[in-house]
């Protein structure tokens, strides 16, 4: 009951602070523009894919950390009330991820609906895109929580969030490329699959691409990926890894939150 009250209060707070409106508008405008500049449904999805893979992790991790730092006093106030720490934690987390995820989903789906993209065969594609986007949102807000609760210093926490985003979105792929070239004489398909699974952004990218059948491009390598990710087992493993990416940071954050001396 308390959790729901906190979520309700947080939602009001988030909407008052307006950034969620800008976030929704951002996706709305991009999707709308992509349709207007002459894209079919599938086209728009492919273009959105890059935006989703960059913007969602960045916004989720930075906003998540800021949100926690800014509600410091509010948390202290509530902790003096007869409220369990776990219900406060889940209220805070849900109060952040629900508006982020629904803002994103709305910003994509509404323009799709009024441009007729939802009736075409692209409907499954866009729903999958939204699904992956929501997964990224919950994963990166969880990461933000674990960072913001670990580090007292706001600057340090925000800096670390940015570095973490940079690592997952950019540097990690550079490392993969480096490893591929370092061990170019070895059959690398399986290790590379394992490596990509360790990065939620890469995992999301691969899942999305297989959905659009770009895998045929990849020749033999693609066939190996397709066989793994295309199978029910591969899908289950990928989703499982995604859930691990949610569960581990979230439990770390929760553990810290339970013991933290605010």
């Amino acid at each position: 009951m308390n959790t729901l009250k906190i979520i309700k209060y947080q939602l009001q707070d988030v909407i008052r602070s307006r950034w969620i409106i800008f976030y929704t508008l951002f996706f709305w405008l991009i999707t709308d523009a992509l349709f207007r500049f002459g894209g079919s449904g599938e086209h728009v999805i492919l273009s959105l894919m890059n935006v989703v893979l960059i913007v969602i992790p960045l916004v989720s991790i930075v906003l998540g950390a800021m949100y926690l730092y800014n509600s410091r006093e509010y948390i202290e106030l509530l902790l003096s009330q007869p409220i369990t720490r776990s219900s406060l934690f889940s209220g805070l987390y849900a109060g952040l991820t629900i508006p982020l995820a629904s803002g994103f989903a709305l910003g994509i789906l509404v323009p799709f609906a009024y441009h007729g993209g939802l009736t075409s065969e692209a409907a499954a594609g866009v729903l999958f895109l939204v699904f992956v986007g929501i997964l990224l949102t919950v994963v990166f807000t969880a990461l933000a929580f674990s960072i913001a609760l670990r580090f007292e210093d706001k600057i340090k926490g925000l800096g670390l969030s940015l570095v973490l985003w940079l690592f997952f979105a950019v540097i990690y792929d550079g490392l993969i490329l480096f490893i591929i070239f370092l061990f170019s004489y070895y059959p690398l398909q399986n290790p590379v699959i394992a490596l990509t699974m360790l990065n939620p952004v890469d995992l999301a990218r691969i899942l999305l691409m297989l959905n659009f059948d770009i895998s045929a491009l990849m020749g033999f390598t693609g066939a190996v990926f397709q066989r793994f990710f295309g199978s029910g087992f591969g899908m289950a493993v990928s989703l499982g890894v995604m859930l691990l990416w949610l569960a581990i940071p979230l439990s770390v954050a929760f553990r810290v939150f339970l013991r933290k001396d605010f």
């Binding site: 890059n50 979105a169 792929d173 490329l177 770009i214 045929a216 990849m218 020749g219």
Partner: protein
């Protein structure tokens, strides 16, 4: 009389027997290779042939060779085709009425015309070949051939033509055969409007739809081929004219040819074939107005060129192929006015391909417009439209002021190390490409389109 009962009919007068025999010099052929011009006296029998043909169709009478006709019907006095062939004098028209004839290994060694009425079926019941033609000027029309035997040592064909001239195979159906039409050492013949289907599942136990081996001046037109190993296969086919055929859903190649110089392929459609189209070891080939679409798979090519030289590829459409044009050891080819859209690779030119000219093509939304395996460039790219081009045209000449570099750094990386394809569409790769575009250090320095078009070429 349903002579042209097939999916694509050609105007009836166009393919009269007189056009092909005794002088194999139809109008198209004259335009095609002017070196083979013959005296216009040759046109006289041509017109006679045309006249005969037209009267034959108009009056529904047998072709007027004057030697009469024989009728085969399941319950008639002549009940088998083998018997009719045995009885017939040279020049006879054998009319085969609708019904199923369980016959195989028929041999025609005299000039005959076989005409099916209501698509009679000759069913070999999965053993041996069906019909072998060893004589000149034989015509086969309106018959359905079914179920030849499958063999790993012999090329059983539904219809085999050997050592013959001026044969016409028009408007037949071929269903579930090993090889459908097989021409060996044949000159000046026509294969038109046949509907060829098979349901092969493995390359080894499946033959080719139309197979030409050592032929001269064969025309293949208006055929539909599906489900064979190679849709159209040509080896040592000199001066073949292949047009308006549809070859899709074959196990290996839609069109596969080797050692076939001076051939012309136009307005064909090749789609959804296991490995697309492969053309090899030939000179002076023209490929115009064809459609290479949806050859999509780990080993599929829109068009694979291997050791092709002095040829012309123009006005074709390449859409949704894994690799639209793959060029290996191919020299002096003019690639012009093609529409290359939404392929994985637009053009993949290996360094052993030299002096090819790519001009006035549209490269639209390919993952890689141009890929190569060398830092040197031996080919010319000029005046193409690139959807990836981000330059400007201040002086309003229609061509961009800044040269375009169509080779992405990433395509080089992938060429060296296919495993790096897992990074496709990654932000990191976009950054690498951007850095390379700003300061080129690894991509071929001279592979540049100096005059990229600002607008698509209208085709």
């Amino acid at each position: 009389m349903k002579i042209f009962n097939s999916t694509r009919s050609v105007p009836s007068g166009r393919w009269s027997p007189g056009m092909l025999h005794p002088l194999p010099c139809s109008r198209q052929r004259l335009q095609h290779s002017s070196a083979k011009k013959r005296s216009t006296v040759g046109l006289a029998p041509f017109f006679f042939g045309l006249l005969f043909m037209l009267t034959a169709i108009a009056t529904e009478a047998p072709a007027g060779t004057g030697s009469g006709e024989l009728v085969v019907r399941p319950q008639g006095p002549v009940a088998s085709i083998a018997e009719a062939i045995e009885l017939a004098e040279p020049g006879t028209t054998i009319r085969i009425m609708a019904g199923t004839y369980n016959e195989r290994e028929l041999v025609i060694s005299k000039k005959l015309t076989l005409t099916g009425e209501g698509f009679p079926v000759i069913d070999a019941r999965n053993e041996g070949f069906i019909l072998k033609v060893l004589a000149d000027s034989v015509q086969i029309r309106g018959i359905e051939f079914r179920n030849t035997g499958v063999s790993y040592t012999r090329d059983h064909a539904a219809l085999l033509v050997e050592d013959a001239n001026g044969v016409v195979i028009d408007g037949n159906r071929f269903t579930d055969n090993f090889f459908a039409i097989y021409l060996a050492t044949v000159r000046g013949s026509l294969v038109a409007n046949n509907h060829i289907t098979a349901s092969g599942t493995r390359e080894a136990s499946s033959g080719n739809g139309i197979h030409l081996w050592s032929t001269w001046d064969i025309e293949v037109t208006g055929n539909t081929i599906r489900g064979h190993r190679d849709g159209i296969y040509l080896e040592f086919a000199k001066g073949a004219l292949i047009y308006e055929n549809v070859s899709n859903g074959n196990l290996r190649y839609g069109l596969h040819f080797m050692f076939s110089d001076d051939s012309h392929y136009h307005d064909n459609t090749f789609s959804n074939n296991g490995a697309g189209v492969a053309v090899m070891y030939s000179k002076n080939v023209k490929m115009t107005g064809n459609r290479f679409v949806e050859n999509w798979g780990p080993a599929a090519y829109g068009l694979l060129l291997k050791d092709i030289s002095d040829s012309q590829i123009s006005g074709n459409l390449f859409r949704d192929n894994t690799i639209a044009i793959h060029s290996e050891g191919s020299n002096r080819i003019a690639v012009k006015n093609n529409h290359i859209i939404r392929n994985g690779w637009g053009v993949k030119v290996m360094a052993n391909s030299q002096n090819n000219v790519f001009s006035s093509n549209n490269f639209i939304e390919n993952t890689f417009d141009v890929a190569t395996n060398s830092r040197r460039n031996y080919n010319t790219f000029e005046g193409n439209y690139w959807s990836r081009y981000d330059g400007y045209d201040l002086d309003q000449t229609g061509t961009g002021d800044v040269p375009h570099r169509p080779v992405r750094l990433y395509s080089l990386i992938v060429e060296q190390n296919p495993a790096s394809l897992i990074l496709i569409r990654s932000f990191f790769i976009d950054l690498l490409d951007l850095a390379e575009r700003i300061m080129p250090t690894l991509t071929p320095e001279t592979l540049i389109d100096e005059k990229p078009l600002m607008k698509e070429v209208n085709l």
